[in-house]
Amino acid sequence: MSSLAFTLVKGAIALNFALVIAAALVYLERRISAWMQYRIGPNRVGPFGLLQPLADVLKLYTKEDIVPYNANKTFHRLAPIISIAVALAMLCVIAPASYVLLEDGTKLFIAVAPNVNVGFLLILALSSIGVYGITLAGWSSNNKYSLLGGLRSSAQMISYELAMGLAAVAAVMLSGSLDMNHIIASQAGGRWNIWFQPIGFIVFLVASFAETNRAPFDLPEAEPELVGGYHTEFSGMKFGLFYLAEYANMFTASAVMTTLYLGGYDMPFLPQLLGLQEGTVARVLFELAVFFGKVSVLLFFFIWVRWTLPRFRYDQLMNLGWRVLLPLGLANIIVTGAIVFFVR
């Protein structure tokens, strides 16, 4: 099989997988939030209510697609596409497992686009484009609440992207590469970046909550003030795409954090204990399990925080972003830089 065809197959698998994960997350979010509020949650559709997301998507598909009068039709149509496309495109550089060694000695990498030397930069760049989806959605709807939501979102994302980038720079300095596979390889054997970069990890975590518009940073869709925020005027599957994009973004952010701070698919001692050789299929399956185990812990944390903390006020949000996280990130870079320079 040619490498292009193989990449396309991997891409298709990754896309479908991410969408299924996003749908599953919607179910989990509803279930976990219910448990945290002494409720049961959706349990009627299928066993344990597992088919609930399917029913939701079917409902969204059959709904009328309403475009408001005087809305900018082009951008109104484009905005949800940008949102979901950006969320899914980030998956291409994420490496959920290492590689399979073929008989002729070639390495079959599991990541869709393995060994991209600007891998992490690509993720930062794409997450910046994600702002356009939300801002355009707010602007094109011709609705003041949507516009406010979109504006808030762009201000929030720009503010927190700085902190996020700065936190990541320190981690990248430790790993010495922007390539996702290298970043994971540099953390092999339990030398995960989180042990050396606890502050960086916290800054990155908080910033990714803001980047994914999750509570306590869900100001763009603050229901009590903005009706529904940037997606007020979207209905049917256009709204569905925004909804999926939010959860796909959560998944991507968790995967990035796993790669950058939690050692990716690395798990010390266990593969040696089980006698799994690098490059075998069994090892790859083990690595996939490890990677998705770490990702699901983070995803649970995302949901957990959302149902615990109240929403920030706008000035608190900006204070936290500019006066706490940004200086912290800068200080973190200087300290890490000094240590890397003098110790190594």
Partner: protein, 165 residues
């Protein structure tokens, strides 16, 4: 200048200002809550059994030898929502009168219980039925066929009325 000093925010200690310990406390609380018993009742399968004091839909008491109602029409007159219509007729029994037609419009009924309170025969009482549904306005007018309920099923309410009325 209107400067406020010694506010609550200023009195907070370093750890309180950091918020992280408080956030951890909150997270611990929600995590513990996840494993606590749930409040939800699985409604159609698990039904709530109201007490005798509950005012469900009004029904007519049906004794062994026929209905209790003597069609005096007091309930119809006291009904603030004008939901009850009674037409009296004569019968050969000791009571001499019975309702030839007794209708309650369930779309009008406000479950106030005045009909029950005013009834001299204890013939109309509030039952425990709370999920009353219909598909049309005609269906919502309950006639004698739906209103008459055997006395055995109303014991709890009658007991309650004897005690507190």
């Amino acid at each position: 200048m209107n400067v406020t000093t010694n506010t609550r925010a200023e009195r907070m200690s370093f750890w309180e200002k950091l918020y992280l310990p408080e956030i951890a406390k909150g997270l611990a609380l929600t995590f513990k809550t996840m494993f606590k018993p749930k409040m939800t009742r699985q409604y159609p399968e698990e039904r709530w059994e109201p007490l005798g004091s509950y005012r469900g839909r009004p029904v007519l008491v049906l004794e062994e030898d026929g209905e209790r109602c003597v069609a005096c029409g007091l309930c119809s007159r006291v009904c603030p929502a004008l939901a009850i219509e009674v037409q009296a007729a004569e019968t050969a029994r000791d009571k001499e009168r019975y309702p030839a037609k007794f209708e309650i419009n369930m779309l009008r009924c406000i479950y106030c219980g005045l009909c029950e309170e005013v009834c001299p025969e204890e013939a109309i009482v509030m039952s425990k039925d709370y999920d009353i549904v219909f598909h049309s306005q005609e269906e919502a007018i309950f006639g004698k066929d739906k209103l008459l309920v055997p006395i055995a099923r109303l014991q709890e309410r009658l007991e309650f009325l004897r005690q507190y009325k």
